[in-house]
Amino acid sequence: MSETMSIEDYLAQGGVLSAPENVPARYRGELLRLMSSFVDSELAASAGFADSINFAPAIKERIAASRITLEKADHAERVLAVMAGFGTDVLRYQASHDWSARLDRDTDLGTARAGTDNRLAVLHYPINGWIDAVVMNVLQGLATGVQMTELTRVSYAPLAEVFREIAPREARHADLGLEGLERICATSEGRAEAALSVAYWRPRVAATFGVAGSGRFETLRKFGLRHHPNEALLSRWAALADERLVAVGL
């Protein structure tokens, strides 16, 4: 065993980086891309959910939607603070995009990036009322839960720590959605409307896992920023979604 090794070898073998000063240039680019995608997605999700507060049928639901709106913005802020260590101008960043902007519901983006921010494509689609909001939150919340198993292991320790703090609260958001979905599916009309929303959101959430055999995945894996390929995460999410939807009669 030699005393030192290249940072690339260190990362490939599971090493962890601890400060902006010891991050190589390419790693820096991919790490920032990952962080900004998360920040943009959380801000866009928060902005989208803000409208859902007023769709809520009762106080309990209103509180759940408010909480999700609040906490997603808070999570964005925490990751943005890690980006600040790399020079990101945090105040300008928050103002650089319109987080509530949405495309037409019929647009088909696939996995493509749209607009000027780096949010997941699914967050470009508008929400249609309360049941639609709940279904979207359940499916996307389960997807976030699966993604979190990767994010909490990223090789940049200060970020992994933030994700470990965030993960249980994100899981709670999905749980709140499932509770709401259970209430909706108690009636046949509710179940029928929810089924329409599932049909709309399911392929769009599935697309957030990216393409199979992604070239970028290999780069990220080498850096310790990813561990399991897109297709593995997608199938885990699909199984999880099936299980939860069946449980409420969908």
Partner: protein
């Protein structure tokens, strides 16, 4: 953006033949800014022959010592560490950014936790700060340090660690592992690798009792220790890492200056390197950024905000000249070293060579 502040050098003490401990005092108005958490580091800057060097060194003082101290070991060929070891004297001033870093765990004075620290060489500095602070502020905490060095006379803070053992009798223990000197117990001779770790866990350490582990040292040592800790049942959130100073990326030399003159209206020959692959293509002069041209040439260049704010798209200009429309993310010294935000950069020379890999 974090700013630099002057710190007065109040003491420079020789710790070993090639390491010094520097005591620093902030200006009265900066005292709150330099209030640190155990395990954090300071980033210093200094000009060497017109090139700004930045180096980070961990604070080795405990939070209750009432001062800032850093341990700086001379690295072969290292301009900053050599200068500190040979020339720095009390009364001098150093410029530093406020303390940064997340190499610590929150303290709880009512807890009775067991900590394990691993340090290799000068990796002891943040660990020492953590040991002193933890033992002082968590009266029921116990701490075991496994400390690896080449030989006895290169051990930093040997006396201070002995003093701590006496001060916190029964709560603090040190296992010295020496590479080049035989000790009574064979296990304590050599480098810390997987085999030595399993020996330590068999005879000296109880993995199940450990609440939190801190590791700071050279990369191979950290990998071996982390793997062993995981194999013995520690979770990722129970293992804290700080990368050894040698892992710091050297800052780039000043950029090459453009030799070709600008001819308005003609195309630009661009060469872009990403992930070790280099691609050359022609791009427009004016109106097209290096990032857009790279993406059009099917390079998966990193970017996010495209507004000059996030710095995801940072690249380095190796040849030629570019102009940035806006820059809210790069500091002056990065720009002087040739870094640009590719989403804002347009070539103004006939040829431009950039890389995302450096």
């Amino acid at each position: 953006m974090a700013r630099f502040h002057p710190l007065k050098v109040t003491d420079v003490r020789r710790e070993t033949r090639d390491a010094v401990v520097v005591t620093l005092r902030p200006r009265d108005e900066d005292v709150a800014l330099f209030d640190f958490t155990q395990g954090q580091y300071l980033t210093f800057r200094r000009d060497f022959d017109g090139e700004e060097l930045r180096r980070s060194y961990s604070i080795c003082a405990g939070r209750d010592e009432g001062c800032l101290k850093v341990g700086i070991k001379r690295v072969d060929g290292g301009a900053f560490s050599t200068w500190v070891n040979e020339s720095l004297a009390p009364g001098d001033e150093l410029e530093a950014m406020p303390p940064m870093g997340k190499f610590f765990a929150p303290l709880d004075e009512t807890a009775a936790r067991q900590y394990l620290g691993f340090a290799g060489g000068s990796g002891i500095t943040p660990v020492l700060s953590i040991i002193k602070t933890t033992l002082a502020r968590e009266p029921k905490a116990r701490f075991t340090l496994v400390y690896s060095n080449r030989q006895i006379n290169t051990i930093m803070f040997r006396e201070e660690l002995e003093d701590l053992k006496n001060l916190y009798l029964g709560r603090f223990s040190v296992i010295h592992v020496l590479e080049q000197e035989g000790q009574e117990i064979d296990l304590f001779t050599g480098r810390i690798d997987a085999e030595k770790m399993s020996g330590l866990f068999t005879h000296w350490l109880d993995a199940k009792a450990i609440d939190m582990a801190f590791i700071c040292g050279p990369e191979p040592m950290m990998l071996a220790i982390a793997q062993s800790l995981r194999d013995h049942g520690l979770r990722d959130d129970q293992i804290k890492f700080e990368l050894f100073a040698s892992g710091q990326q050297g800052r780039a030399k000043t950029r090459a200056v453009s030799k070709s003159a600008t001819v308005p209206g003609t195309g630009v020959q661009a060469t872009v390197t990403l992930d070790g692959a280099t691609r050359s293509f022609e791009m427009a002069r004016g109106g097209e950024t290096i990032l857009d041209a790279a993406i059009a040439a099917k390079l998966d260049a990193p970017y996010s905000c495209k507004a000059g704010v996030c710095s995801t798209c940072r690249c380095k200009v190796l040849e030629g000249e570019v102009e940035m429309a806006v820059n809210h993310a790069l500091e002056d010294y990065e720009v002087r070293a040739g870094y640009v935000l590719s989403c804002q950069a347009m070539p103004i020379s006939e040829r431009v060579v950039v890389t995302y890999d450096e």
